[in-house]
Subunit: 379 residues, 2 copies
DNA sequence: CTGTTAGCGCATTCAG
DNA sequence: CTGAATGCGCTAACAG
């Protein structure tokens, strides 16, 4: 069964390491550049030579050397996505971006580089400056975002999930928190609610200029005014315990409030506070959240919600950026997606019960010290 | 305010594009190689020259060209992580891996490449073969995994989240589903339960050889036997509706079953089925799930669970791989983590009610046809 | 249509 | 301790 000495190396693996273009050029008896051209198709090549080259490519299992190609061509064929804060794992919806972006990137034969860089413009610029990525996707965008300014100043291609104050010439995909809040409100008003609370993003995010938070707040104020109802704007941290405290305060101090909207994960604390206050959802209190169906349907009761198509958002952002890299004269698209209301179990007609009676049924509420509704989150 | 003509180009930006080593060598009057050595520290350089070089580096805001470095050095300083199926967004815990891996990678000054490749060994090998990544992390490992065989055959460094049948010489980090199941079971037996169901991963994953599913099943069979209780092994899809059907069926046909363990997201359907059957948790039925605290605490009742430290797992896997890349003589670590039981609200003493009576109370299990409670409203 | 050639930016070997 | 020279593998002018 032993092969003859002259046959120790049949032919499939000529050299030890991976094959290079030079090797396949030699093997197929053509010029190095011809190999390059049959591979890239950037120049017509006669069928005869093409076949010879492709045969050698198959035979050697040749793979182009990525970095070498990047060096010579000036493009890494890679985009980078920066994850927000280290605590991002607390907000599942953001993780779904990544899945969407990954799929779109892989589909376009690009590579996706992931990095953490909470708010450090330098780290972000570096990836592109070192030519490791051709462009970047940013999330958790601020109204005035230093990262974006730096990226613009350096002339690096980028795309946002979210948006800034001045969006001129900037491509982005964002959920329309404005219409989300308005749609939710209209739904609640139709059901007869006359006093609705908004559990907005935490105060520190508002202070930092987190665009979605500002948009939600403004939309809430405008819409409550136009609809002629009372609106209570709360800034509320996402973690259950802290959200619980904020919600408990609201329930204690605002008996006439019969419904709430949450911009995110705050519903956890809210639902818990409602249970603690012995208020039934939706008979005595209605809840609408901006939330992916996956989570909305997992809860009891299932949450009426504004669908947040995070996977789509990630996919679109990646596609947008890649499109721009391929043709930088392309007009930057600006997409507002989502905002579709899905009615589930957590909303219902406003209770007819007079406020006084309802106030009565609340005895286990936290002490007054915690009554500061608009509070700041500490990390 | 206009500068003189001779000053149009003060000095901070000498050339238009990014600076190269050659430029900073020229600027600081040293040899190209000297610049390389002060930057890499691989050779002693006199303080005088070092300072001149560093000054020029700062002045030009020089950044080493990643691909060029990779080409010359033969290492891309990058690792790749492959996401499982396209449906992975349904299983949040897996997403948290990515966060952990990203953090560890960034911390080690490596880059993390994300890619989708359900079960395609070719795609996985390609990233390394093209020198775009030095090694890869695989998740959703099968007992006999073609991807791993290919990686081993090619001699490419890798690390698993999960594990294979033959783990010799393979580095991995995995949750210990075996002890997770046993610990859960012991907890339930202590509470007096004598018949427990396991909602294992779906049948197709078992068939495919998904290691965690097999381990859970085997551990369940061994532990129920040893503890002298009856075990009902179910393979159950994660999606709520399908899990609901499986759970409803169990409740209808096995009145003596008073508790269940779920390996993952199946608890959603189970909880819904319990409600539909009018069985109170934990008074009439206990539930334990393998689940991250974040989700366990979001539910009503909060789920007693085996903590799945996904972030840690991702972090450890990345660190492990990077360590191995730095020194390939390092012994492959094999880590089984997690398995810690956290008792919350969903487990309690086994009900004393005789099976016959309980069977009686189950009439309102809704027929599958009427279960569509989700409706959509257009904006 | 095809071959020759010159770099891309950096790491590294070899002289000095 | 330092400088000059070579090559990593590929792309893209440039000649034929």
């Amino acid at each position: 069964m032993a092969e003859s000495d002259s046959m120790t190396k049949p032919k499939p693996t000529p050299g030890p390491g991976p094959a290079t273009m030079a090797q396949i050029a030699e093997r197929s008896g053509v010029a190095l550049s011809t190999v390059s051209y049959v591979l890239s198709g950037k120049r017509p090549v006669s069928p005869a030579m093409r076949d010879r080259v492709l045969a050698a490519v198959a035979e050697f299992d040749y793979r182009p050397h990525g970095p070498a190609r990047a060096l010579a061509s000036g493009s890494s064929h890679t985009i980078a996505l920066f994850l927000p804060s280290p605590h991002w794992d607390l907000i599942p919806v953001q993780q779904t971006f990544v899945a969407g972006a990954t799929q779109a990137t892989s589909a376009s034969d690009y590579a996706l580089l992931l990095s953490t860089a909470a708010s450090d413009p330098e780290t972000i610029v570096r990836l592109v400056a070192t030519h490791r990525a051709d462009g970047v996707i940013l999330m958790e965008t601020l109204t005035h975002d230093p990262r974006i300014e730096k990226l613009q100043a350096a002339g690096f291609p980028f795309c946002l999930i979210g948006r800034t104050a001045d969006t001129s010439g900037i491509g982005y995909v964002d959920i329309d928190y404005g219409s989300a809040v308005r749609t939710s409100l209209e739904h609640l008003v139709e059901l007869g609610h006359r006093c609705v609370a908004l559990f907005n993003f935490p105060q520190d995010q508002l202070d930092a200029g987190y665009a979605s938070a500002l948009i939600a707040r403004d939309a809430f104020e405008v819409a409550t005014a136009e609809l002629g109802i009372r609106g209570i704007h709360l800034t509320c941290p996402h973690p259950p315990q802290e959200a619980f405290a904020v919600a408990a305060c609201l329930l204690a101090s605002e008996p006439e409030c019969t419904a709430a909207i949450t911009t995110g994960w705050q519903f956890t604390g809210l639902l818990r506070a409602l249970r603690a206050a012995n208020l039934h959802v939706p008979d005595e209190f209605s809840v609408v959240s901006v939330i992916a169906a996956q989570y909305a349907e997992m809860l009891t009761p299932a949450l009426t919600g504004i669908e947040w198509p995070a996977f789509e958002a990630g996919r679109l952002a990646a596609e947008m950026l890649i499109e721009r890299l391929a043709d930088d004269s392309v007009t930057q698209r600006q997409l507002l997606i989502g905002g579709e209301l899905v009615i589930r179990e957590s909303t219902g007609p406003a209770p007819a019960t007079p406020p006084s009676k309802r106030t009565n049924s609340r005895k286990r509420i936290p002490p007054p010290e915690t009554r500061n509704l608009v509070q700041t989150q500490r990390t």
